[in-house]
Amino acid sequence: MSWTIVVGVKQVPDADEVGIDPDTGRLDRASAPAVMNGPDREALEAAFRIRDQVGGEVIAMSMGPPNAKTVLKEAVAMGCDDAVLISDRAFGGSDTWPTSLTLARAAEALEADVVICGEETTDSSTGQVPPGIAAHNGWAQLTYAEAVDARPEEDRLAARRDVEGGHELVAADLPVVVAAAYGEFDPRPAPLHRKIYGENDFEPTVWDAEDLEIKDEVGLEVSPTSVGGMETVDPVERKGEVVDEIDDLADSIEEVVA
């Protein structure tokens, strides 16, 4: 038994370097260097754990501009067996609907048994892409997965999910789309020779919209989202007070509550 595990990785602006324009209050993303979306490192770790269990291949996929190759090289440096970039001018203006359609088609083309995504991205953070991939392909989905357990003899993947008051264990038939809960899969360090290979000598395969036969189903035209407007919110002034005695604290709180 060996599975094909496909991981969605997205290139995002480095959150540490994203500045806020003091005049407009807008995020200045353009000047920040592009890095791999943090939660996607954890999605990769979840994938490696499944590969450790059942064997097979982990393949990274990213939909993005040509320079998104860098995050795919990094994914291979971290331990992926291969990677594919899905890139086309036609994708410009795509919202989560065509994005998840594209990734769904790519996962199909790769004959994925499991697709693993991060919980959400640090730039758009809708969390819609993993369920979108599942919906487009009619596959099962396991969201907010805190742990994964492959059951190859049943052709199923089980995941532990956090629910109020405890957790539940859900098993789904393959193929399945998983969204890895952020903070639950500590990424392992990249092996030395893999890191050298991934960063320097590996080149990802590139597919375009035509390869996936979705040329008319992507882009701004077919994106249902419309942005109504943007507003910046002024910070609320908060009153701070230091009390010397613990007993006085109760008084201050009472004052506010009253």
């Binding site: 067996d81 392992r188 092996p191 030395l192 020779h193 890191k195 050298i196 290979y197 395969t205 597919w207």
Partner: protein, 451 residues
């Protein structure tokens, strides 16, 4: 029809003996060595423990560039300002006596090869130059040891899984805290008297623009490098303080013997704070906000502490080899780091052409370093470290106070004739140095500082 993956991937990559040389540390010395070897056609792996070169680097700030300029196109280098003024200042507890130099020539290119830089930016750029010539830079990877084969060094061991890699030559450019070289017995751990601690803050002035230009009397790209010694700078410790202007920030710090730092109950941070609040220094850094604080060791054993520079399969360069000149007037390590990396890189390239790895094949490195300014300067000033240590109280406490007193006397405004002021001033200095004979002896002892 479904698209396919172009499957020319390597399942089990292995780079053993794929590189001609491995360089440990992408500081100035390491990148200079990597760039030199890459220029000569060698495949080089440059390993850096920081998330990028310079990310972990503490540096007060003046980069001396005579060698770098020869190695690469320096025009787009991320420098902050050129040094247009150097000021040497003696601080007693409350007084300052200073000499300032602002030669017109320093305003013209190449600006006496002295620029303030922020190492986070500069080191990244310099390593990039090596990468553009074909070197492979590997960040976030710490070298933990060397591998040996038949007694010779044959590669390195890192903190990563599957973490050893072999190559015919290893260049150790790990800086002053040289754990790898020491761990492999390529050099001895420096004695405490030969190690200084440097602490530095980078300050910004959030309240308004042009604070730096106004306070330091600067226009355009000009900058300053101020050096301070005496008890007002680092208390009774052996060392000094500095201020360098960057483009929008100021680097301020102190560097002094670790021995003194440990023996006295003041932490390096407290020493820096005392320096920052000295009445002659505080106005320069008023209303500043600290954006970065860092500490590091500086080897300053001079020529006597240089270890064997070459071994079978390895060479040591830069601070790891103790190549820093720190004598109160000069604090120079950047130029020596680059010069040593350059000579080591050349020697390895020559040995590689002949297919030889023994220490004898690398002798060209120590030989050319001997001939260069690096060893010449270190030897020239070796005596000074010893002399200064002997005259420490006089130089760091009594003299700064005497000069301040002399100045106060000489310019005193009262109803006495100036002649009596001059006499008092002279006697303040003479009594500190032990009369005319004492002064003559001192002058003789220290004449080599400027000759």
């Amino acid at each position: 029809m479904s698209p396919e993956l172009e499957s020319d991937t390597v399942a089990d990559p292995n780079y053993d003996d794929e590189f001609d040389a491995i360089v440990v540390g992408a500081g100035l010395a390491g990148s200079a060595a990597a760039l030199t070897m890459a220029n000569r056609g060698l495949d080089v792996l440059l390993i850096e423990r920081g998330s990028s070169p310079g990310a972990k680097n503490v540096f007060g700030g003046v980069l001396y560039t005579p060698t770098i300029r020869e190695l690469t196109d320096f025009d787009d280098a991320p420098v902050e300002r050129y040094v247009a003024e150097r000021r040497f200042s003696m601080l007693s507890k409350d007084d300052e006596t200073a000499v300032s130099l602002r030669p017109g020539e320093w305003h013209e290119k190449p600006h006496n090869d002295s620029y303030t830089v922020l190492r986070g930016d500069f080191d990244e750029w310099f390593a990039e130059q090596a990468a553009e010539e074909g070197a492979t830079l590997l960040n976030s990877t710490t070298v933990t040891g060397l591998i040996r084969e038949d007694g010779r060094i044959a590669g390195v061991e890192t903190d990563r899984p599957d973490g050893t890699i072999r190559a015919p030559y290893v260049v150790l450019a790990e800086g002053g805290n040289s754990l790898v070289s020491e761990g492999a017995n390529l050099k001895q751990t420096e004695t405490r008297e030969n190690v200084a601690v440097g602490v530095k803050e980078v300050l910004e002035f959030p309240q308004r623009d042009e604070v730096i230009e106004d306070r330091f009397r600067l226009t355009d790209e000009a900058g300053v490098s101020y050096h301070y010694f005496g008890e007002g700078a680092v208390g009774d410790a052996f060392g000094g303080g500095f201020i360098y202007t960057n483009e929008d920030t100021v680097s301020i710090g102190v560097a002094y013997r670790i021995e003194d730092a440990a023996a006295h109950d003041q932490s390096p941070e407290e020493t820096l704070n005392a320096f920052k609040s000295h009445p002659a220094v505080a106005p320069l850094v008023r209303n500043a906000r600290t954006v970065e604080y860092s500490a590091k060791t500086i080897p300053e054993g001079g020529a006597e502490s240089i270890p064997d520079l070459v071994h079978d399969g390895a060479a040591i360069v830069g601070d790891a080899a103790g190549l820093v000149l720190n004598n109160g007037v000069h604090l120079e390590g950047t130029n020596m780091a680059v010069e040593s990396g350059y000579h080591a890189g050349n020697a390895i390239a020559r040995a590689a052409d002949k297919g030889r790895v023994g220490a004898d094949a690398l002798q060209a490195y120590p030989e050319s370093l001997e001939e260069s300014f690096v060893v010449k300067n270190l030897e020239h000033y070796q005596w000074m470290m010893n002399a200064v240590e002997e005259d420490r109280d006089l130089l760091f406490e009594d003299l700064p106070r005497a000069f301040a007193d002399a100045g106060t006397e000489y310019f005193r405004m009262d109803r006495q004739p100036k002649e009596s002021h001059a006499k008092n001033a002279k006697s303040a200095v003479l009594s500190a140095v032990g009369g005319w004979t004492g002064a003559a002896k001192l002058a003789l002892r220290y004449r080599k500082v400027v000759t």
